[in-house]
Amino acid sequence: MNLASALATITPLTALLFLVASWLSIGALGLVQPNRIGWVARTLFPLGALVALAVAAMGAMSLLPGFAVQRAVLALGLPNMPFHVRLDALSGFFLLLLGSAGAGISIFAAGYFRQGEGTAPGLLCLQYHVFLASMAMVVLADDAYLFMVAWETMALSSYFLVVTQHRIPEIRRAGFLYLLMAHVGALGILLSFGVLQGGSWQMTFDAMRAAQLTPAWASAAFALALFGFGAKAGLVPLHVWLPEAHPAAPSPVSAMMSALMLKIGVYGLLRVSWDLLHAGPWWWGLLTLGLGLGTALYGAIFAAVQTDMKRLLAYSSIENIGLIFAGMGLALLCRSFDMRLLAALALAATLIHAFNHAFFKSLLFLVTGSVMHATGERSLGKLGGLIRYMPWVAALALIGSLAIAGLPPLNGFVSEWLLLQAFLQTPRIPHAFLNMIVPLGAALVALTAALAGYVMVKFYGVVFLGQPRERALEHAHDAGWLERLGLAWLALGCILIGMFPQAALDVVGRITLQLVGTAVRRGPSPWWMTPVTSSQTSYSGLWLWVGLLLAIGATFALVRRIYHGRVRRTPPWDCGYPWQTPRMQDSSEGFGQPVRHLFGPVFRMQRELPAPSDSKPHYHVQVQEHLWHRLYLPLARLVQRTAERVTILQGGRLSTYLLYSFMTLILLLVWVL
């Protein structure tokens, strides 16, 4: 067989399996010289980025028109339970997301990881690439067995990545919480698959698709899946691990978890609810929608009062996941009334938002990494003014911040716009109660989006603008070229999707075709997005870019040409007050104060106010979640108490244990007879 014909037999699926294997081997190569940074970071991570790009390309191929679903059975797994893999439009889309955002993160990581930060770089490289490979395998899996194996590998490898700096007790605690929530969620998923096989005891997804479940069992499977995947994605009230684990992990890892792993949770729910369960009754949609909207608002409110930049971004992830779930719920709702076009629109908004979030959130998490390397600070109260010392990072972070705030003409606005358009069509739902309550969801989406703008002004303003709040910040340096390249790649993604939203809509159209049976309506021109009808609504990212750039250029030229560009540098004016210090700017607490004031009852606040007589006045405020104290701690105490009761059975005396065995035997005998 010559080379050409050998190459011709390679399908995207086999190529993907090969790429996953190469990720694993890149990871293993990290162990060869685990402490040589030139080898691990400068060689292996860029290689991993190349593989990621190839994964993205293969994922994109499966989204081309005319692509037929590919499947394969691997020679791995248990003797009579081999691994099944399958590549369709849905998994292809998430591979595209994983590969394209992952490539940027890997390039950044190549410049980011250095020695002496907890785990040895080589070991980190192994965990990192196993994490990437396991996420790809989750998406490719076509039976519950491989799915769970890959899912658990993903959870464990990310756990080890979170506790990279395992010498710090808080980080170990955060890691434990993450591991706990990951396993509680995995239990839900496992049980859901148990219900889904419907008595056939076949673990392949094909059998599950064909299984005829009664409505009650289908609902049980959906509820378990919502719980399990919701815990992974960070749905309130299962989100508690996110604000702990994201700050604990190194920034590229936070970026991967937030941008990629949360999306794998979204993928899981999409796969189970749309593909395996073929959607369901309307209350599934309403439940998902309600949880999603609640999560979005909750995340946005809490993000506004955070004082740690990575915690702020973690809450912002919760908010975005909420929007994604809201879109998914809306799609399920519309599907249950057989409004397929509308379901396709909502689903398209969901998928594009997932993709967008992968780009801007990883961009911002990586930015926090650069800031931490340059300054050693994570607390917003000790940063400020970095735009002067880190111009590149600041400029790229600005793109990310504007995008995540959902501002036109960037990508965040595109998905938000689509989601709002979908909500606006909901009064046509033929259900008297729903067609009144659901359009009001648009109000919550609008409030969340506006709050996201507030949060991002706070994030960007406190970190990059103003005066440096600490002396040491003046020695901050810009990121290296590899880091900049990674950031620029992600920023470019934000700009391009903002410019060509119709292209993104065309891409996700393949998935809505697969899951809903129809694609979103397409206008005659590729530059315009007209998802409903062209007279009803239209948006053109490209023309908005052109218009804005033209206007800015013309204004600049006219002002500078007709008048002059003379500039004089003076001390700041500030109403004539000459003794400005950096401490007089808004701190992060100060900037969050209006939100703390307006949404007071939502927070659990502990405040120490200075007394008038204090010689050294000190103000301290700590904002926590009620949920932690009202739900999780009581739950933990309950578990603890139950466990203590159960220990009574374990007296430690052999005779008692023998008695137990004897009793069980008798009981079984009675039962059998």
Binding site: A443, K458, G461, Y539, P572
Partner: protein, 315 residues
């Protein structure tokens, strides 16, 4: 082709008329408050003066600070190009529908807030914080107003809404649009730094919002920001006309005569609206800052109520 000519001229008209509108409101306010009024063209004189001066930049001001006035001004210009103030025959109006328009305003708000935080003065960041607070409360209310209009007309494109009202004039008397109209006026006041939320003529340090943000700006940058804020008021007024009082706006294929009539109609409507704004501002007192959220929550609830009324009554 003529459509493009009108597109550009409508945009230029907005840029040129916006200071005049601001001057008119100022003049009415002065009359109502028994002061001797500045001339109608005072804003143009202010612009001329500012453009001629040397810009005094704070030592630490970054590129973002210098870029922001251009961005803010340009977003307002693009918004003016999209809003059907004179004619609905606008090729660019389809670039961004009403939701995108709200997004454009948000972009301008975020940029000016970021620029306010750039120099790192106490007033700058205070103004930014307050502006963003007003913004995140006003933006959903504005979207709800537009959604009510969408429900009535079945379109988020402003030209379609204008044509919808012109086709069936009784629509504006629908209770849902009535609620929306009241909410819209409240949002207009808050978003344009007018009383009772912010006082455009204040320099009383602790109460200012908009002024606090542009405190560090001077000369051409200040001129652009002032112009942008006048354009914003003009744009909001024109959105209001398009939604609730579209009579006079020329439709597709109107001749030059009708277009001239449309310009006259806009001028007349602006004159009335400006006088009403001045009257309202004279009669109302500024709210304490933490009463402003109540004001805006009220606007939001009214708009939501309008939406609910529509869904209940279908009108």
């Amino acid at each position: 082709m003529t459509a493009y000519v009108w597109q550009v001229s409508e945009c230029l008209l907005a840029i040129a008329l916006a200071p005049l509108f601001a001057g008119w409101v100022g003049q009415c306010r002065a009359w109502l408050q028994n002061r001797s009024a500045p001339p109608l063209w005072q804003p143009y004189l202010v612009l001329r003066k500012l453009f001629h001066k040397d810009a005094a930049l704070a030592t630490d001001a970054s590129w973002l600070f210098r870029l922001a006035p251009y961005v803010v001004f340009s977003t307002m210009v693009v918004a003016a190009a999209i809003i059907p103030s004179v004619t609905t025959d606008l090729p660019l109006a389809r670039v961004a529908d009403a939701i995108a328009l709200v997004g454009l305003f948000a972009t301008a708000r975020v940029f000016i807030s970021l620029a306010a935080m750039d120099v790192g003065t106490a007033f700058g960041s205070m103004g930014a914080r307050r502006e963003m607070m007003i913004g995140f409360l006003a933006e959903p209310a504005l979207l709800m107003v537009l959604f009510s209009a969408f429900m009535t007309h079945g379109s988020t494109a402003l030209p379609e809404m204008v044509e919808g009202v012109l086709d069936q004039p009784h629509i504006v008397l629908h209770p849902s649009l009535f609620f929306a109209g009241v909410a819209f006026v409240m949002v207009l006041l808050a978003e344009n730094a007018r009383l009772p939320v912010d006082n455009p003529s204040t320099h009383l340090e602790l109460t200012m919002i908009h002024e606090a943000m542009i405190l560090e700006y001077s000369a051409r940058h200040l001129a652009l920001l002032e112009w942008a804020s006048w354009l914003k008021l003009f744009n909001y007024a024109c959105i209001g006309f398009a939604l609730f009082l579209p009579w006079g706006i020329a439709l597709h294929g109107a001749g030059v005569g009708l277009l001239a009539l449309a310009i006259a109609a806009v001028l007349a409507k602006l004159a009335v609206a400006g006088a009403a704004l001045a009257l309202f501002e004279t009669l109302s007192a500024k709210l304490r800052l933490f009463r402003a959220p109540e004001f805006l929550t009220m606007a939001f609830l009214l708009a939501v109520l309008g939406l609910l009324v529509y869904l209940l009554l279908g009108a």
